[in-house]
């Protein structure tokens, strides 16, 4: 199948590659950009593992074609920590609250929580649970993840 040019911004860098029109954004990032932090847990838009930010909006990258991201600004989990490696507040809170175990769903949660707290810096427990109900985790029982969102929100408040 013929490939089309795709030009987009990924984690602040301009990226120019080609992709078949049917190639998902997730596969494009993993296979054409070497960014394997975005994980695929279901490839049908249910589990949220492949969540990333497209022009700031949390998006499931298994449901979007790479060509649809042409000209847009994409942030993946690799672009969340500071350039010197310092973890973001969300990442640090996930570590401090045992919010991850196998780590496979973790990039999707980091992205979803980052978007959630940006839009709602002081969420209630119910808002956190509602906001993350589209991300599946099979290891943690969500206990540490929910605690981490509370922790990250408190950290934001203090900062």
């Amino acid at each position: 199948m013929a490939e089309l040019p795709v030009r987009l911004t990924v984690n602040g860098e301009t990226v120019e590659r080609t992709a078949e029109p049917r190639m998902t954004l997730a596969d494009f990032l993993r296979e054409r950009c070497g960014l394997t932090g975005t994980h695929l847990g279901c490839e049908h838009g249910a589990c949220g593992a492949c969540t990333l930010l497209v022009d700031g909006a949390a998006v499931r990258s298994c449901l979007m074609f790479a060509v649809q991201a042409d000209g847009l600004d994409v942030t993946t989990v690799e672009g969340i920590a500071a350039p010197d490696g310092t973890l973001s507040r969300v990442q640090a809170a996930m570590r401090d609250c045992h919010g991850l175990q196998c780590g496979f769903c973790t990039p999707g949660f980091v992205m979803s929580i980052t978007a959630l707290l940006r839009d709602n810096p002081k969420p209630t427990d119910e808002e956190i649970r509602e906001g993350l109900s589209g991300n599946f985790c099979r290891c943690t029982g969500y206990q540490g993840i929910i605690a981490a969102v509370h922790r990250a929100a408190e950290t934001v408040e203090k900062a």
């Binding site: 078949e20 049917r22 190639m23 993993r30 960014l35 394997t36 932090g37 975005t38 994980h39 695929l40 847990g41 279901c42 490839e43 049908h44 249910a46 589990c47 593992a49 993946t76 989990v77 690799e78 969340i80 920590a81 490696g85 973890l87 990442q91 996930m94 570590r95 401090d96 045992h98 991850l100 175990q101 196998c102 780590g103 496979f104 769903c105 973790t106 990039p107 980091v110 956190i128 649970r129 509602e130 993350l132 109900s133 589209g134 991300n135 599946f136 985790c137 099979r138 290891c139 943690t140 029982g141 969500y142 206990q143 540490g144 993840i145 929910i146």
Partner: protein
């Protein structure tokens, strides 16, 4: 209580504390290495052609159209791959069990929807998926056995060599043993419970990359596994190679929970096909395949009986159990089922017991291991106890108090044929969890709610489980510890972590055993060319096993350090104390740091290795789960209110890790009680092969989980007991009992799982609500 002889020489600093995980940095920033992240030069991609029928003859396979598609490199069928199998058996069972069939690809007949029929190899995954649609398979559909409960009386045989579709039966003490007790009982509880099929469903599906080196015949395997060394041993046997020719690597595995404990048919296919293609071969399962073909668990039923004296004392117990093993179970399923019968008496004073179990084939996905594989013993026992209590007019808590074992009554014989229960605290965790709830206050709240037309319930489950078995294969765990001249310590173990934090665990243990700081210890795991043998993540063994391996290896290393320092310091080794990062002579100023000793040893530093072998037949962990809920009697929706786990896994290495294991297992159990159902229609078609149909618990369904810890040490390394599986055992009975308690005013009895809204509404309707 017998403590291990290999306790660290200095007070522990890290063991028992909530140290942050060393795994987290890479996993939080997208720099983990899961199997799908592996890229190899010229790598090819595999995709399976799978049966759309539950049972059918394969008349012909025509791959010509697929092979004509640009980018397709090969299509293999059973005739290509299956004859290359040298030996096919799992180390934990050995080659001599009466194993069930397990061909790599289906031969002549397909036996479940999803049965792999052919393997397409292409330049990328997209083309491989296109090509499977072009492989023409001429099937002749046959009537299938969709429900194992029909299988023993069916004319249809899933496998011709197994009459009545029975793979095997096992039994404990015969029914006559309990007949007298049942005949004289004041009350008998007798119910048949049915549990639906559900599965581990790790967020990372299965996957494997195999690269065969044509020049020397070596095979390198990257895979998602709980047991790298078993993948190596199995792969070597399968391919007819010496184990040294097979190297298995895994860095991160995205959850396993039993599904990744041994290689399965698809893994065999990729290993076999790798020798027929010129580059590395990758297979990554998609979610539909995972829910359709990776396997099922939990699907079983049992007639459970208990005889009671008038005061509620249990006189005898029995269970007749049968389980669905699907078409191709992995591994041999018959032996493992014995644990259902052996553990059915549970942590109660039950003097007499009888049991039997039968493993039955059906035309569905094969049964495989899942976290607490025997948990039906707790489902059947704890649901039966609540039903019995209601019939006896006793509070279920009171009935349990009259029968439950307390710490000071141990050891206590298990009447079903297991070694005696020991070093645990069932009644103590029960009372702890009830105190945390304030049981009496909840009963008052429940009464007030009922008066207001709201239906609250409370349920409990108390179980005892064997962990860290001394069974020969699983008893073994090796370790190597090296100190470089820089002073940096490296601990090398098999690992097999699939989220269970084994890197952090062994670093904590090693830092304590040598008296050094956490950040001066690194670990290498999960590369069989570098790591000593270890049996991997299975049977809640990793904590205890790695603690033993680290303790014994550190002990050898300390002796070596003393020996080396002795020559330089001019004193006898026995006068030297090795601790806190140095070798010193008490009462003098003589001392050498580990770095100095390692430098003395040479540029490679100093290294020791040892193997731990578990000596106890098992270490008993136990817990009580207490759950409260509200049931909407119009919609059948269950809302969990409080969830409390009082548990005893002995001294915890890292409470964060233990609580994480409890929570994860508990939520899987909640899913099994209320949501998850791997359902088939009457023709054997799977109806839950996406996450739209197979319902996993999410943040909106799970309660906040409260933990109460007790620490009765076991006679194993550090006193640590296993913590990996219990949550998944305790949760389903506690949740179902809470729902049944909520609905008790309606006279509703729950004997079928899951307690889905539709099932509850049907029960309420039947009860005349």
């Amino acid at each position: 209580m017998t403590e291990t002889a290999t306790a660290p020489p200095t007070p522990t600093r890290y063991t028992g504390s909530r140290v942050p995980r060393v795994e987290d940095g890479r996993l939080l920033t997208g720099h983990g290495t899961f199997v799908d992240d592996i890229q190899r030069p010229g790598m090819l991609h595999a995709c399976f052609v799978r049966s759309p029928f539950a049972r059918a003859l394969i008349n012909e396979i025509d791959a010509s159209a697929a092979l004509a598609l640009p980018g397709v490199r090969a299509v293999f069928t059973a005739a290509d791959l299956n004859p290359d199998v040298h030996e096919q058996w799992y180390s934990s069972y050995g080659p001599n069990v009466p194993d069930t069939p397990r061909p790599p690809l289906a031969v002549d007949e397909v036996r479940f929807v999803g049965d792999p029929v052919a393997l397409v190899i292409a330049e990328n995954r997209y083309i491989a998926e296109d090509a499977i649609e072009l492989v023409e398979v001429d099937y002749e559909p046959l009537t299938a056995i969709a429900d194992y409960r029909d299988a023993q009386t069916s004319d249809i045989l899933v496998h011709p060599k197994f009459p009545n579709n029975v793979a095997g039966s096992l039994a404990g003490p015969p029914p006559e043993v309990v007949e007298g007790a049942f005949a004289s009982a004041a009350h008998i509880a007798d119910e048949t419970f049915y549990q639906q099929a559900y599965a581990p469903v790790p967020m990372e599906t299965r996957g494997i990359v195999v690269e065969w080196a044509a020049d020397n015949g070596d095979v390198t395997i990257w895979t998602a596994t709980q047991t790298p060394h078993e993948v190596r041993a199995f792969g070597a046997r399968l391919l007819g190679l010496e184990p040294e020719r097979v190297r298995v690597l895994m860095r991160d595995t995205g959850g396993g929970f039993g599904q990744k404990v041994v290689p399965m048919r698809e893994d065999m296919c990729i290993m076999l096909a790798s020798r027929k293609v010129p580059a590395a071969l990758k297979w990554i399962e998609d979610r539909r395949e995972n829910l359709m073909a990776a396997g099922q668990a939990r699907h079983e039923h049992g007639r459970a009986r208990m005889a009671f004296a008038a005061d509620g004392t249990i006189l005898a117990a029995g269970i007749e159990h049968a389980q669905d093993i699907g078409a191709y179970p992995t591994p041999w399923p018959v032996g493992a089922a014995a644990a259902v019968g052996l553990l059915f008496p549970g942590p109660y004073k039950v003097p007499l017991a009888t049991w039997s179990t039968t493993s039955v084939f059906s035309n569905t996905a094969g049964r495989h291991a899942y976290r607490g594989p025997w948990q039906f013993e707790s489902v059947a026992r704890e649901l039966l106890l609540d039903i019995a209590a209601r019939d006896l007019g006793l509070d279920p808590v009171e009935l349990r108090r009259r029968n439950m074992l307390s710490r000071d009554e141990l050891p206590y014989p298990n009447p079903a044929g297991m070694p005696p229960y020991d070093h645990s605290s069932p009644l103590e965790t029960f009372e702890l969890a009830l105190r945390m709830l304030d049981y009496d206050a909840f009963r008052a709240e429940q009464a007030a709610a009922r008066a207001a037309g709201r239906y609250l319930g409370v349920g409990t489950c108390t179980y005892i489980e064997p962990t860290a078995t001394g069974q020969p294969y699983y008893a073994c765990e090796g370790a190597v510890i090296r100190i470089d001249p820089s002073g940096q310590v490296t601990v090398i173990v098999n690992g097999g972590s699939a989220g269970n934090s084994l890197e952090t665990t062994v670093i904590q243990l090693t830092a304590d055993a040598l008296g050094v700081s956490l950040d001066s210890v690194d670990t290498i795991q999960n590369d069989t060319s570098e790591t000593p043998f270890g049996a991997g993540t299975a049977g809640s063994r990793s904590g205890s096993a790695t603690a033993g391996a680290v303790a014994e290896t550190a002990s050898v290393l300390r002796a070596k350090l003393a020996e080396l320092a002795s020559a330089r310091l001019g004193v006898a080794p026995q006068d030297i104390v090795v601790a806190d990062g140095q070798a010193s002579v008490p009462g003098t100023s003589l001392a050498m740091t580990y770095a100095q000793i390692a430098e003395l040893a040479g540029p490679g530093g100093v290294e020791a290795s040892a193997e731990h072998t578990a000596k106890a037949p098992m270490l008993w962990s136990n817990a009580t789960h207490v759950c409260t809920c509200e049931v909407d009697v119009v919609t059948g929706k269950v809302t969990l209110l409080r969830y409390i786990v009082g548990e005893d896994v002995g001294p915890m290495i890292n409470p964060n890790v233990v609580e994480g294991q409890i929570a994860g297992g508990t939520v899987q159990g909640i899913g099994g009680a209320l949501l998850e159902h791997m359902v088939y229609d009457e023709d054997g078609n799977p109806l839950a092969s996406t996450f739209v149909d197979y319902l996993l618990p999410t943040t909106t369904e799970v309660p906040h989980i409260e933990y109460g810890h007790m620490e009765m040490p076991a006679p194993g390394p550090g006193g640590h007991k296993g913590a990996g599986e219990g949550g998944a055992i305790g949760a389903p009975p506690a949740v179902i009992n809470a729902v049944a308690d909520a609905l008790s005013p309606f006279g509703v009895k729950i004997t079928n799982l899951p307690a889905s809204p539709a099932a509850l509404v049907a029960l309420l309707t039947e009860a005349g609500h």
